[in-house]
């Protein structure tokens, strides 16, 4: 009795939470799968070369900022060189805290609103060759396709609340996978080895849903937790800062990311200091880091007597998961305050490091990223098959009065999910078609992307034929996907048979991947048949024996897509 009650309650919560988050979660996983390769996509889009030697002069960078008219004293600077898609130096600094003077406070408020002014926040890009400021408005690489997909995977296009929505979706995903496991717990072994192709359509979907759900469970649990962390981290940071550290967030950072902890100001100006470039060189020698790896540095309390500089390296050593090393110097005398070498990894900094590495697949190189990509697609399949189970379970006489509504919901869900694939391929195509000198080029392209996606959802809503929605999405994505390497070659002259030799690795990689994806999609789209339940078929053959044209249904498009990608 109790057992039956639990089973039904958890079944219902699994269904409801799953259906509510399904499309959002699909977007998270599908766009996220592409976002794993965001830097590669950005480089492909900009036709940028790989393996450019990067070097950075920190003193010159600081003097560039000073010449720009910013107040330097007491600031905390974060300086890093990025190669995304072209090399640039990123300088970020939070606005200075004003004194108790009220007029100054007011002024500062105005400044931070306008994002300008000597005490306001700094977020700029600097050219590493000329040390001139390229972009004053933001240091993040925005307006690039890879970054756009990365933002899409946590709904950043929805202002302010987008990130929190994605966090909540992740949380309910966690809830859904735990309840799902509870529901299947008793028959977990037998269900895993069950795949009824010849029973009802509902059985086919639910067997696939269960088996692939269990295979992906560790991966999905990891993403549910880390995704919630990134989306909803504010509900930890805010109360901890307020209650435990009396509003000093820098102290909290000391426990989560010790490299970035803050130091108290001495409120005494002290200009004499060793050269920062020299300190970074010392750090490199001390930590035995390769010359090719550049440091990210964090200077706290600049020009104060208690100024510190921290240099962090991502050592990229093979077989080492905790590959970050850092060293903190006191700036006035160059004394080492803190040091983390590659052999040690204290618990304090390791948690956030682990979360970040797991979520962004920053370990094991392209091999792990490819596995992540495939597991993400499997997860997408689990989500969609869940929706299909929900629909098929309601495809009977008992739900006759709701049938119209359910079918419409199913068509919209399927259109939004499957339509994302050709829409992304479409975005890749138009980045190579639209001329570079058009005003507001990226805004135009992203609008075109959303319109394409919306149009596909509308098409799905009107047609309401699930087989066609799947098939046409795959055909569209296949054609557009094959067009991508051709358009890239026409626009940039980087054909995939020459780009690898001339060190345009990402251009080659993205071209080839899309060519393969496109061919696979087309093969699948043209080889699958309409899904027919065998019960219906038997009934049909009994009635009119001539109707033998439709072959036995072996698979469905999405399942086949996943399978053939895995087989590759």
């Amino acid at each position: 009795m109790k057992d039956k009650r639990n089973y039904n309650v958890f079944f219902n919560t699994h269904t409801v939470s799953g259906i509510v988050i399904s499309v959002g979660l699909f977007v998270c996983f599908f766009a996220g799968a592409f976002a794993l390769f965001q830097t590669n996509i950005n480089k492909w889009e900009a036709n940028a070369k790989n393996g450019v030697h990067l070097a950075i002069d920190y003193e010159k960078t600081l003097s560039t900022i000073k010449e720009e008219g910013f107040t330097m004293n007491g600031r905390t600077f974060f300086i890093q060189i990025m190669d995304n898609p072209l090399p640039f130096i990123m300088v970020v600094s939070r606005p200075l805290r004003s004194d108790n003077n009220t007029t100054q406070k007011k002024e500062q408020e105005n400044y931070s609103k306008a994002k300008v002014g000597p005490t306001g926040p700094i977020s700029v890009k600097i050219d590493p060759k000329t040390y001139k400021i390229i972009d004053k408005d933001g240091a993040e690489p925005t307006e690039h396709l890879g970054t756009f997909l990365y933002h899409l995977h946590y709904f950043d296009q929805i202002p302010i609340i987008g990130l929190y929505i994605s966090g909540l979706i992740s949380l309910f995903f966690l809830f859904a996978i735990i309840t799902g496991t509870i529901v299947h717990w008793k028959k977990i072994m037998s269900n895993f080895f069950t795949f009824r192709l010849k029973a009802t359509i509902k059985n086919l979907w639910s067997d696939a849903h269960v088996a692939l759900g269990i295979i992906g469970l560790p991966f999905q649990f990891m993403y549910a937790v880390t995704g919630t962390i990134f989306g909803l981290v504010i509900i930890i940071l805010l109360p901890s800062t307020m209650v435990l550290f009396d509003g000093d967030q820098g102290k909290l950072l000391g426990y989560i990311a010790p490299a970035y902890k803050t130091f108290d100001m001495a409120n005494e100006i002290h200009l004499e200091r060793p050269n920062i470039n020299q300190l970074v060189q010392n750090a490199r020698k001390d930590l035995q880091v390769d010359d090719a790896i550049t440091a990210s540095i964090n200077i706290s309390n600049y020009n104060d007597k208690n100024a510190h500089v921290m240099a962090e390296f991502r050592a990229k050593k093979e077989g080492v998961f905790y590959d970050d090393v850092h060293i903190t110097y006191r700036l006035r005398d160059g004394k080492v305050v803190e040091k983390k070498i590659i052999e040690t990894h204290p618990y304090k900094g390791s948690v956030l490091h682990t979360v970040r590495k797991l979520h962004f697949a920053q370990f094991g190189g392209y091999f792990v990223k490819t596995i992540y990509f495939l597991l993400s697609l499997i997860t997408c399949f689990v989500i969609l098959s869940g929706v299909m189970v929900w629909l098929e379970a309601r495809n009977n006489k008992k739900y006759e009065n709701k049938k119209k509504f359910n079918t419409a919901i199913g068509a919209i869900y399927l259109g939004a999910s499957m339509g994302l694939f050709p829409a992304i391929a479409f975005f890749f195509c138009i980045t190579k078609i639209i001329p570079l000198d058009i005003e507001n080029r990226f805004g135009l392209m992203s609008n075109a992307f959303f319109l394409f996606w919306l149009a596909y959802i509308l098409y799905a809503f009107i047609s309401k034929d699930f087989h066609k929605i799947n098939k046409h999405a795959l055909i569209l994505a296949g054609i557009l996907g094959i067009a991508i390497p051709l358009l890239n070659g026409l626009q940039s002259g980087l054909w995939f048979w020459t780009s690898l030799q001339s060190n345009y690795i990402d251009s080659f990689f993205i071209d080839i991947s899309w060519l393969l994806l496109g061919i696979i999609s087309l093969i699948i789209a043209f080889s699958v048949q309409r899904l027919v339940s065998h019960k219906d078929k038997r009934r049909a053959t009994r009635g009119i024996s001539k109707n033998r044209n439709h072959q036995e249904v072996i698979d469905t498009p999405v399942l086949a897509m996943n399978k053939s990608i895995i087989n590759e």
Binding site: L174, I178, I182, V225, S240, L244, Y255, Y347, K348, V355
Partner: protein, 94 residues
């Protein structure tokens, strides 16, 4: 296949209190418990751990709400955890 309705909650009040318990109650209980643990056990290990354990605990509290039949019981458990943690925090801070 859809869940048998006879086992599910029917009244809107129960549904509402369950949903509010899963979101608000579970979150507050999880966060305050971690804050109190950080004060009692020490920041060194609890604060980094809380990055992920807050959400995992929140998830398990959500499950608990649906496992326990009466929503008032689960709200009671949450309020108990919250009040113990808040009192502990208050005493440790003063």
């Amino acid at each position: 296949m859809p869940a048998n309705k006879k086992y599910l909650a029917t009244s809107n009040w129960i549904k509402f209190s369950k949903i509010s318990a899963t979101i608000l109650g579970a979150m507050l209980a999880s966060v305050t418990l971690h804050l109190a643990l950080a004060i009692w056990v020490g920041f060194e290990y609890i604060i980094p751990t809380s990055l992920f354990s807050v959400f995992i605990l929140w998830g398990f509290f959500m499950i608990m709400v649906y496992w326990i039949k009466s929503p008032w019981k689960s709200w009671g458990i949450f309020l108990f955890i919250i009040s113990i943690s808040v009192v502990g925090l208050y005493m440790a801070k003063n």
